[in-house]
């Protein structure tokens, strides 16, 4: 069939290909090691046969043809799994431990040194609407999904080392089964949340000169100065891009793994898992920081995602340019926090 196609369309390119293939076959045959030959019985198969050792040396995997309907079974040997196995058993575990425990330890240390960052002079009465209900909805859609995914993902990586000895095989398997199911399907709302956040918040998150100045002044973490910032300060813009780019690549690699062979073969899936796991634990570390500063780390920060209305004094401290812009638009802040 192959020859037939070539004969019908004898373009130069195809001819060159045939020549090249011919040459390659010729060289391969010429390179076959010569061993004491078999008793002369017609054709000498010795110099023609394909050898496993040589094939494994030449290519990443040995593939042939197969007569059963499952054409993927035509891959005979693919030793790449060993590299993936080493990553999954070694570096991934250590990166995970470092990211999870290391970040928690750093945050605890930061809390001990710096303490809760309070609103200077206490809360005021006036508030300002920072995030509308849809903004809060998409934030929590992503955040809620992320928590489920992070926990179930950590269980896939480290559950066998940490939980299995505590729970025993049966209980741990049952829990892991449900966590795996949730990981697979909660991936969809997570991806939806990331896409919504990208669409709604991308304009406010494009880095500019204000952010450079914000970072130069230490983002308000050093001393008690509050550098000017727009709706999102430099740090928040970093968090936004971590979520959009990190979350996006997690979604892409995750869906590639969820639908085997639709996107890539087994080698591709090994790569996807390496990327997925690596980015996920880095993102877990970043999100720990985000959660800390949004809750216990700073007084008044949680309001933005709880009711959406933030203390005006807090807003003036942390997002001075945004407050000025909002007040110019509406004229006055809310006199008091309205019932939601």
């Amino acid at each position: 069939m192959f020859n037939h196609t070539i004969l019908r369309r004898p373009t130069l390119r195809r001819l060159a290909l045939v020549l090249l293939l011919g040459l390659a076959t010729h060289t391969a045959m010429a390179q076959a090691p010569v061993r004491p030959s078999a008793p002369e019985q017609g054709m000498n198969t010795d110099t023609l046969e394909v050898k496993e050792k040589e094939l494994l040396g030449q290519m990443r995997r040995i593939e042939g043809t197969i007569s059963i309907p499952d054409s993927r079974a035509a891959v005979l040997i693919q030793p790449d799994g060993r590299t993936w196995r080493d990553y999954r058993r070694g570096p991934l575990l250590w990166i995970t431990a470092a990211c999870v425990l290391g970040t928690l330890a750093l945050l605890a240390l930061f809390y001990v040194i710096k303490g809760r960052m309070l609103i200077a002079g206490g809360r005021g009465v006036a508030t300002l609407l920072r995030f509308g209900s849809f903004e809060r909805f998409m934030h929590w859609l992503t955040a809620g999904s992320w928590c489920v995914l992070a926990l179930s993902g950590l269980n896939m990586v480290a559950g066998r080392a940490v939980l299995l000895p505590l729970l025993g095989n049966d209980a741990f398997s049952e829990i892991s089964h449900w966590l795996k199911l949730s990981h697979n399907f909660v991936g969809f709302p997570f991806a939806a949340g990331v896409i919504l956040m990208l669409l709604v918040w991308v304009r406010a998150n494009i880095p500019n000169k204000v952010d450079i100045e914000w970072f130069r002044q230490g983002g308000g973490f050093i001393g008690n100065r509050h550098p000017p910032a727009e709706k999102f300060n430099g740090g928040q813009k970093v968090v936004f891009w971590i979520v959009v780019l990190g979350g996006g690549s997690l979604a892409i690699t995750g869906f590639a793994l969820l639908f085997p062979f639709y996107v890539t073969n087994i080698f591709g899936m090994q790569i996807a898992q390496v990327v997925h796991g690596g980015i996920a634990v880095l993102m877990i570390a970043a999100m720990f920081g985000h959660i800390y500063i949004g809750s216990v780390g700073m007084e008044g920060a949680i309001d933005a995602m709880n009711t959406g209305n933030v203390d005006l004094k807090w807003a003036k401290d942390h997002h001075s340019l945004w407050v000025a812009e909002e007040l110019a638009k509406t004229g006055k802040p809310n006199p008091q926090q309205p019932a939601e």
Binding site: I68, P69, D70, S133, R136, F137, M138, H139, W140, L141, A143, G144, S145, V148, L181, S182, N184, F185, V186, G187, F188, P189, A192, M305, N306, T307, G308, E340
Partner: protein
């Protein structure tokens, strides 16, 4: 808080929705790899 609860409800709904859609799309291997015209016993 209300938006948080809404988000959780939507998250669960979307997850189950995805699971339901995928379970319809998904084929048992017996069907996927059957020869054309073969009678297939799908029971596991």
């Amino acid at each position: 808080m209300r938006m948080f609860l809404t988000a959780v409800v939507v998250m669960v709904a979307l997850s189950f929705g995805a699971a339901a859609v995928l379970s319809v799309v998904q084929q048992p291997v017996a069907v996927a790899f059957a020869t054309k015209g073969a009678r297939v016993d799908v029971g596991e």
